[in-house]
Symmetry: C2
Subunit: 409 residues, 2 copies
């Protein structure tokens, strides 16, 4: 172990908003991001929304000298959009796809097609094992009537569980990503409470950047000002979280965000602001028991709150499944009726005023399409119901374990 | 730590073949399984193919006194079929769904609808932390032309990776399940080589049961003898695997399988034989380094072999995606042509011999159905391609890490 002087680690996190053909000035911005990463020489760069593998390859080529190790996580139809550039060797990777991630028929939102996931990378830096997690949760399209809230809460729970179960061998845990949750939202309280991860913005000694650490700000020229109206300062949804395990402590020496444009340029890197943390990792002074075993009593309330959200989602999913099942049965009945009418006309039992053939065929076309679609959706919502039920049950078990721990304290 | 005398653990594993309305004598067999579990008082019972939650609840009620702790893993359309009954408290659970699991349109096989997964349970027995994994991989329907082999290899890889990444905090790792792989198959060699798990059949001091430890045997009355013709003794696809970590060693004192019928009864528990292991867990004598860090040079060949299978699957998936894309384009062209013809007849440009209206409508119905289905399948196979590419890349990285380790040894 050659880590007696503290290890300083500079981490860059950015949602790059790089959708081919849709994102404005994509190529210029990817070029700009590449230039900055290469000039600044961070230790780790955690990127989200690099949807096109061609963009990743371009960055990889450009950054080969400065960041010899990198990984792109493939998932979903489009790709997870998650990638990492590292100055240090990546020893292993693992991907966990969230079990719920929106709806395939919400084409205008498109989250389902991205196969949202959390990627784990194991990186050894100066003898210290880092478990680096990069993720991007389901977007929030309407805060007042957020139909995706239960899915996002399930994702936050799965993220917390994944981190807890896969980080036992780590010295330091680091999570970067666009969590699509405000700092006080139930999902982020659940994630932080369950994992014991610390928020670099809340903990840093020196902060420089947008007020309140916001990462979606009205000053950014790609931002729809209308959508940010309820939040004049902007919102904070991109995070760098961390914790030291066993023999190490981590603190955030300084934190920076960009402020609407890339430093010294006229355009921003993305519609999100970049978050740049300087972390200091040093050996724990006394060999005290890991603080993560202490349970905060408030965590019970947070898990309960999350469980309520999951239940709300469950009711909605059950309603959706029911209405799709009903629709499928109606379409099937209509088709059967039409088949009977068709057959009766074939054997010569023509009604005196036959149904016009063209409308008849059009109706059967419509019924077939409706039958097929509602069957597929019935199956889809059944899976959703199962996953929400499973999460609710898991949370119940977790609450029981929490309460047992608290009562034995 | 009160485990100086060795801990003896009796583990029961069974694929229960409990499909409502389809499996023969299901209710009698579930009753029989419940009776046996309750009489024998195992420490852990790992069950697969308990598809109906009603059957699980029936078992849970019956076994409440003997196995006060239990868990059912929900997933997929039907449910994962995985459940566990335990004499000791279950502290936490976690589910990982395999990213590939057959095809939704293979209705006669149905694996896709089950959401095949691996369930993790954390159980503390006499101060020892057990990570218990229960799983069921994709079935093999035709050994000579096994279209699902790449999916099963991906599942075996994900299972191995999941176990490796989530077992760092464990004292003992235990895996039970129907792996649908013969002992020499690439997937099982990959799983065992990567995780260091030991096979209770290969390691036991005393074995009693079917020859070669087979768990699908011709003596079982529910077995289709034709399918087992190439294997007159039967095949072994159900396993109990284990390893001790850090401070503990595990060995298998004795192993048993049923032999075509439930002991003392005229019918079997299932179409699979039950596997019953008596494991002995004791503290490691010397505090030597964990043996799992030693790398076997053969593992490189196994990972390479698995990677080749994944590549074969990738080519097949790319072909499927291509043919679905082509079909969708053809159906779209036909629909456009028909729309043009329909419009031209509306504006009075009738051709001298018009296409019969009924056939015209039937054709458009067909084209619409084909367009919809091939679009959905195109999306599905694109996801398959992405996941196979991702696995192949992960295996490449793993091989690199293995070779680095070997060369530094």
């Amino acid at each position: 172990m050659d880590t007696d002087p503290p290890l300083e680690l500079r981490v860059f996190n950015l949602n790059c908003w790089a959708i081919r053909y849709l994102s404005k000035l994509r190529q210029e911005r990817i070029g700009l991001i590449g230039d900055t990463l290469s000039q600044e020489g961070f230790d780790l760069a955690l990127l989200q929304e690099v949807w096109s593998e061609r963009d990743y390859c371009e960055l990889k080529q450009k950054l080969a000298a400065c960041y010899p190790y990198s990984h792109y996580f493939k998932s979903g139809v489009i790709g997870s959009g998650l990638c990492v550039f590292s100055r240090y060797p990546i020893l292993d990777t693992f991907l966990y796809q969230y079990s719920l991630n929106g709806y395939p028929y919400m084409l205008q939102h498109g989250d389902w097609f991205c196969g949202k996931a959390v990627g784990l990378l194991i990186i050894k830096i100066c003898g210290i094992i880092f478990h680096v997690y990069v993720t991007h949760l389901h977007a929030e399209y309407c805060r007042d009537k957020d139909a995706y809230l239960p899915h996002r809460v399930v994702q936050a729970w799965e993220l917390a569980q994944f981190i807890q179960h896969t980080s036992k061998g780590a010295d330091v845990v680091l999570l970067g990503g666009d969590l699509n949750m405000h700092p006080g939202d139930v999902g982020i309280r659940l994630l932080r409470g369950w994992t014991g991860l610390r928020d670099s913005f809340a903990d840093t000694e020196r902060f420089e950047g947008c007020e309140d650490g916001c990462t979606l700000v009205p000053a950014n020229c790609f931002i729809n000002k209308e959508e940010l109206q309820p939040f004049p300062l902007g919102i904070r949804i991109d995070y760098i979280l961390y914790k030291g395990l066993s023999r190490f402590v981590v603190k955030c020496d300084s934190l920076m965000t960009t402020t609407g444009t890339a430093p010294g340029k006229s355009i921003p890197y993305s519609d999100h602001e970049a978050v740049i943390a300087t972390l200091c990792v040093k050996p724990r002074e006394e060999a005290k028991a890991s603080s993560s075993s202490a349970v905060e009593p408030e965590l019970v309330d947070v898990v309960n709150e999350a469980r309520t959200e999951v239940r709300v989602g469950l009711h909605a999913a059950e309603r959706q499944r029911y209405s799709n099942g009903r629709m499928a049965i109606l379409a099937l009945l209509l088709l059967l009726l039409q088949a009977a009418m068709g057959l009766s006309s074939l054997v010569g039992w023509d009604s005196p005023q036959p149904f016009p053939k063209f409308s008849f065929s059009l109706l059967s076309l419509l019924a077939t399409v409706v039958l097929l679609l509602s069957m597929v959706l019935y199956v889809f919502h059944t899976i959703e119901v199962k996953m929400l039920q499973g999460t609710e049950e898991q949370m119940r078990l977790a609450l029981q374990a929490l309460q047992d721990k608290l009562s034995s304290m």
